[in-house]
Symmetry: C2
């Protein structure tokens, strides 16, 4: 297997995962690769979890601080959460076991814009990084690292960590080489320069990650797949949401505010995103570009059909059939996909310059266009803000989408006041549910409320929202953003107490 480790010095540092994991000690800050279930280390976290469990059995304290790119998988977040092995985790996560621990108050989770993670590490805001654990596809003769299926913060972790552990994963296709573009032009202020990217396809860096071989304390060989969640076909609600959004884009083209090539697309992952992407194909779009975070199955399809000309991202998130398709046509995909560090894929400078169309999911929106992307009932974290803030604030169009109800209608996505704000009224242009689309651009708060109630609310909740809005306009302390503070959050409280927001 060591044909994947072509640097003699690093070949000499091979060891079993169990031995390598023992180099990670209690209290350390460990920066790991991984973004949206791709490119995370497969062996070290599991071996480490076993060590932690053993220590706990002996009554010894053993917890570490874990920084990643974004969400990983049960083999990282899951196992470390189950053994209560983390005292800190940042940024985005989506693992059920980890989420349960966070919401039980067992560990500190810091939810942070994905574009901020690398620079805040450089600024020293998270302290010293003791060890980086990075999955790669291979190591070349010169010791350069060929990245695997995500880039995330790996450049920063390799530079900032005192010591490095590499996982060389034979499962990752060697054909990935050449898809990555690692930009080495960042700096600390006051030495920063413009980032020379003006089109999503621009390559401004190097295909490999640099790594000081002297910092590498272990190389572990693995052969294990990424999380590779199965692809779910869009359901009816997602297709309705996509339909409204496609009508809106067509209208914008008609009004001359977009061309038929649109602008670079940023798309979240999941059911609604897949429906939107499928809809773009059906609607006859051609030669679009994506400047986004994640390449999922639907994007491969669009690239193949010519709907997408190219896609820039920081990670793959493919199903098993998606991976087969990718490998079958990898030479074509390599020409048309660029994987970048997440500080570049999510950089405000670039998102604003490119003028992205940002399409993200949400948990809830309120009458005035504030959006909650992260918390159930104001206190329980779901996943995190991810890159939605990086894109929404700087996009040409910032669009938030969700079905109008959740939990079989017990929860209304449109509420009087959101229970947590991730995107303020200043950053939300368009809200879409299966009921319809509210275009909030150029509207003041009360105008937004009317549009959102009429277009987006579920009919079961629309009268309750209208009633709140009517009474708020009459009785509110101020009439600019009318609210009745005694009941603004009562829908959430009712849900907590009774299991439903319905009266």
């Amino acid at each position: 297997m060591s044909d994947r480790i072509r640097h003699a010095g690093l070949r000499g540092k091979r060891m079993p995962a169990d031995v390598a994991a023992a180099l990670i000690r209690p209290g350390m800050t460990v920066a790991m690769s991984g973004f949206t279930g791709a490119g995370y280390p497969k062996a070290i976290p599991q071996a480490l979890a076993a060590h932690i469990l053993q220590a706990h059995d002996f009554g010894e304290e053993f917890r570490i601080r874990v920084l990643t790119g974004a969400s990983t998988a049960p083999e990282l977040d899951g196992v470390l959460a189950r053994v209560r092995g983390m005292e800190l985790r940042l940024p985005y996560q989506s693992d059920p076991a980890l989420r349960e621990r966070i919401n039980a108050g067992d560990l500190n989770y810091i939810d942070i814009h994905l574009s901020h993670v690398a620079q805040h590490t450089w600024f020293g805001f998270f302290g010293k990084i003791d060890v980086a654990v990075i999955e790669v596809t291979a190591i070349d003769e010169a010791g350069h690292l060929i990245p695997s299926s995500s880039v995330g913060n790996n450049k920063t972790w390799l530079e900032q960590a005192d010591q490095v552990i590499l996982e060389v994963n034979r499962w990752q296709p060697e054909a990935l080489e050449g898809m990555h573009d690692i930009y080495y032009g960042t700096a600390l202020p006051p030495h920063r320069k413009p980032i020379p990217l003006v089109h999503p396809s621009d390559r401004i860096g190097e295909p490999h990650l640099r790594c000081d071989p002297d910092k590498v304390i272990a190389v572990v060989e693995t052969d294990a797949p990424d999380r590779n969640s199965p692809f779910a076909s869009p359901d009816a609600e997602s297709q309705q949401i996509a339909g409204h959004l496609l009508d809106f884009l067509a209208h914008e083209i008609k009004r001359g505010r977009l061309t038929p090539q649109l602008l670079p697309l940023q798309s979240g992952v999941g059911n609604i995103a897949n429906a939107v992407l499928a809809g773009l194909a059906t609607a006859g779009y051609r030669d679009l570009d994506a400047y986004t975070e994640v390449i999922q199955d639907a994007m491969l399809g669009l690239l193949k059909q010519g709907v997408l000309r190219m896609a820039s991202a920081t990670s793959f998130s493919l199903s098993p059939p998606g991976i087969e398709e990718f490998l079958a046509n990898v030479d074509d995909y390599r020409r048309r996909i660029v994987l970048r560090p997440q500080e570049i894929s999510n950089h405000p400078e670039l998102i604003r310059r490119l003028g992205c169309i940002a399409m993200n999911g949400m948990i809830e929106a309120d009458l005035y266009g504030n959006v909650n992307s992260t918390h159930i009932a104001g206190s329980r974290i779901m996943n995190g803000i991810g890159g939605s803030g990086d894109f929404a604030r700087n996009a040409y169009l910032s669009i938030f989408m969700a079905p109008s109800t959740a939990k079989d209608g017990a929860i209304s996505t449109i509420v009087p006041m959101v229970s947590h704000v991730d995107h303020t009224e200043h950053d939300v242009m368009v809200v879409v549910t299966e009921q319809g689309l509210a275009d909030l651009r150029g509207l003041a708060p009360k105008q937004r409320a009317r549009r959102i109630i009429d277009a987006c609310a579920h009919p079961d909740y629309r009268p309750m929202l209208q009633d709140y809005f009517d009474r708020a306009r009459r009785d509110s302390y101020g009439k600019h953003t009318p609210h009745l503070l005694g009941e603004a959050l009562s829908w959430h409280q009712r849900f907590i107490e009774t299991g439903t927001m319905r009266r």
Copy 2:
């Protein structure tokens, strides 16, 4: 007086304000100059208000849509609000009469990031601009406009408006010529390029505003001062806040996270900002740079003393003695002050590149570091978000400051949950009151809460906050961001009902 109008064609378009104002018709969208009480038109709005009053007396509907740079003065916002002459106003405002109308629900006010205004106009989100009314210092032989005491959105207004009315204000010193830097390199996506500014002092544009003489329908001569609010000496609380902040900066230098030259300063206006700036001088700082929105008296002082090397902004906001000082040493100030369009002074690309230290006021902050900059009790607008979001999101350090109580202690600045969110937990690094400073970097929600309660809350409210936090940790639905939704906003509700947040 027409020595200020050196273009023959435009000299021929001179007319009285009353006649020029009659060119503005009901329902028009009128884009006006003006930023923080500087450089706003002095004559047209007052003449227009008289026309509107007359029309209303005849039972005719006469309201216009008003776009500006930021806040103006009684002669613009005040008079038009008093005659109920506006159906829409954006962005930032601070006029008491206008605020009253907005909070009575009489007009639509759109609160928008100052960096977004120009591009959203270009994107067509506010519809067509019928008339631009722009104050200038003079018009040169070629028809170029010498800007006056603010730049704001004037470049965009002149380009986007169908017709232009110029006010040439003899009161504005001709010595302003050469201080402005109007960048003409912006474009619509997908044609945007990097903005070539890497230091606050860089000049990347032209000293004059371009204007198509054929679009000019009137030139009005005026001789009237800017608002020129008197300078208030910092009070004791402001000095305490400044003291905490200066201690913090010294600590950051000691830890190696800042150099003694700091990083470019962005500072809001007012009492606390003045105290901070005065404190920088006392503390012995030298050769700092400012990349900010407004040059106020205190900044002139720092430039004179060499504490500041230079300052970049989009506007002046000087007191009458400040203006005297400015004029007495204008040649030196001209070399060291650059006034830019607000889309450049507030551009996310540039703020992030420069790594600004952003220091802004706030209305309230909550336990978890969410900040409300705009609304009293969630519904009454004060001024607006201004540029605080542009800076806070992209700054190297985002700092929010306010006394720990307001209204003689009836209001606590630190509350369980803010009643409106302008800056989310993801964007707030440091909170300061006269009680102390909470450094929230690298902290999870519950850690932030402890820090804020201990460091920032007023002793009268600290036990109430601690009690809420303790019970929330015990009884909250989720324990990540503990909240009791039934009472999260009860402090504000109590204030509305009883006039105090105290129990």
